[in-house]
Symmetry: C2
Subunit: 368 residues, 2 copies
Amino acid sequence: MTSDTKTDKPAPASGRNVTIKDLAAELDLSITTISRALNGYSDVGERTRQKVEGAAKRLGYRPNRNAQRLVLQRTHNIAWVQSDNELKYLDPHFAEVMAGVLAQAREVNYDIVLTSHGKDREIATYDRYVRDNSVDGFIVDLPREDDQRIGFLLDSGRPFVVHGREPRCDRYGWVDMDNYGNFYRLARLLVANGHRRIAFINGDEAFNYALYRHRAVRHAVADSGLPEDTVTVYNSAHPMGDAGFRLTREALADPAITAIIYSSILLLVEGYEAWAAAAPRHGQPIALATMDDVLRHIDRTRYLPRVTFVRSSLKDAGLALIDELSRQCDRHAAPQGTLIPSYFDVVPGLDPGSIDEPLPPQRRDHIG
Amino acid sequence: MTSDTKTDKPAPASGRNVTIKDLAAELDLSITTISRALNGYSDVGERTRQKVEGAAKRLGYRPNRNAQRLVLQRTHNIAWVQSDNELKYLDPHFAEVMAGVLAQAREVNYDIVLTSHGKDREIATYDRYVRDNSVDGFIVDLPREDDQRIGFLLDSGRPFVVHGREPRCDRYGWVDMDNYGNFYRLARLLVANGHRRIAFINGDEAFNYALYRHRAVRHAVADSGLPEDTVTVYNSAHPMGDAGFRLTREALADPAITAIIYSSILLLVEGYEAWAAAAPRHGQPIALATMDDVLRHIDRTRYLPRVTFVRSSLKDAGLALIDELSRQCDRHAAPQGTLIPSYFDVVPGLDPGSIDEPLPPQRRDHIG
DNA sequence: ATAGCCAACTAAAACGTTTTGGCAAATGCC
DNA sequence: GGCATTTGCCAAAACGTTTTAGTTGGCTAT
């Protein structure tokens, strides 16, 4: 018995944390053995392993993460760099992705380092993380065409995952919904059901998700042999506020409009009242269709019988983002793209037609 | 000249990052000198310092943060642990605090580690961070009476800051608005202006901010010698959804009600329509008063002439949270409480009375 | 007996910094 | 010129792990 006093208190929170060296002293073993015992190596005796594990639990030992990070060259941290647009934090779409990211990060034992960068410091912020070894990988969201961040990260060779896509998407891991396919199908659906003047209330087309949705809708009318002005596109830079209401009113000011496609259920919710107040066209009420990101505070069933939905969970996208990063970092797998599935709920009055069929061949491998 | 080839490319992003040892080799100096040169010690020659800084910039040197963390016992990380209530992420109040926290963290060179914990793993989550040395301090928000987290962190001896207060608040750093004072004043204001039936649409009283607001309103009526039922309290667990509208309707169902106090401008916004449709009582329109947290997506001016506001910025609270942590961690200052200032905008029709004066003596040092 | 093998352990190096306690040369002072 | 001080640099230890390359001692097979 080398230990003079026995205390069974679970680590009395004194100044210093207990280290592997303390365990070694306590048990009269080398630190090598302690380390190997705790890391499940086969060359430590069963009795010894038990003792080590017992002591570790009893003294409340936790490996010093910074020492581990230094020697293993792995931090188990993931950086999520935000532009300093503070409106973004109150966008429910962002919150939903965050819920997924945080939940899954916890599951696979990663910590999320959330950062905002100042004006013109975007690449500098990534560069710092790459060079000071403080994270294993990156989450990039809301990509644009020819996105600087992606170019930089590709060059850096570090693991990263993009929520969305752009032209280089075969060279990195991504998670995305089928923006193009979903909106192509929605537009064709309306056209196939006789709508000849359609309003599309889209998001901010500076971002690819909205850009690709726009293209999809245009292509759908073109492929149906209809003129370009079959669809009028409106943009809302931010889904909060009154954009949904305002743009719906604006769209309805065109007396020929018979259908509206919304890029987000938030826009639909805001526009719904303006819609309810609107006069039917050609004796029919105006048809509504929207993307539904499965935001947990919106009760979709309220709109179910009146609105055609295409649904794809943003929280699932958040989960998948972390899974992809974990694949790259933990399992050293090659980057891989993941498409989050989408489901259509076509309103009873409409003929669903070819909604669940593949896109026409010429539109098959379009990004978005 | 020991270096064989000269390359001026800014760190070609090869596999390995450049270390202090590389600089030492490049300049034929010891790593001690490199370190001291970069850290501004006075015992390195001016010419040498220039050369070191030049080489560091040229080769794109960034100190390995994990090595620094190990030796300095400081991580420059702050943990912000979230309960796994995912509704929280889309609460604009949370987003606003987050904007402040992230902005100021960037300013004082800290990274925010955002975590969510699983069921019943709350203290375990804090415990892990305390014991594995991965953060310097903690942000705790939405405290309750006798909050477990605060007890644990007090015992741990680690720096932390609480957004809000509870009874032990003289023993830790906190940032808070004057919940009690603000709502005491609002209630007295209404009472002083003749209102005898008041509805108070409060937040979730499981949390202290709402609990203290409730107490303040009760005390205000009691101090005015009015009966308890002068005020009826309604609670909304979450400010999103339709609680504001629903509870306003419920409150207005009482024909004697002449004033409504809202705990958040979000509730007011939702209730505003119900209010606008309501019949005046005693010939007067129903008086409205609300807390305004300066949420960046709400246009307060729209309600300005009709509603009495007490305004206090949640983003400023976020900034102050980080400042307090920085004081404790960087400057080793004793924990300190910070009260974010509040401002009243009393509606023209109301006599402001004693709104800007101190609370009555018996209410002076009430927490909250 | 001895070579070979296996089980169970360990010393030392490594990860990339900071810091302590020097040391040699140059300078100042009388 | 001789001593003290200052200037400018450095070797080595430390932070707490993991991993490499062993070393023991006991057992087996011959």
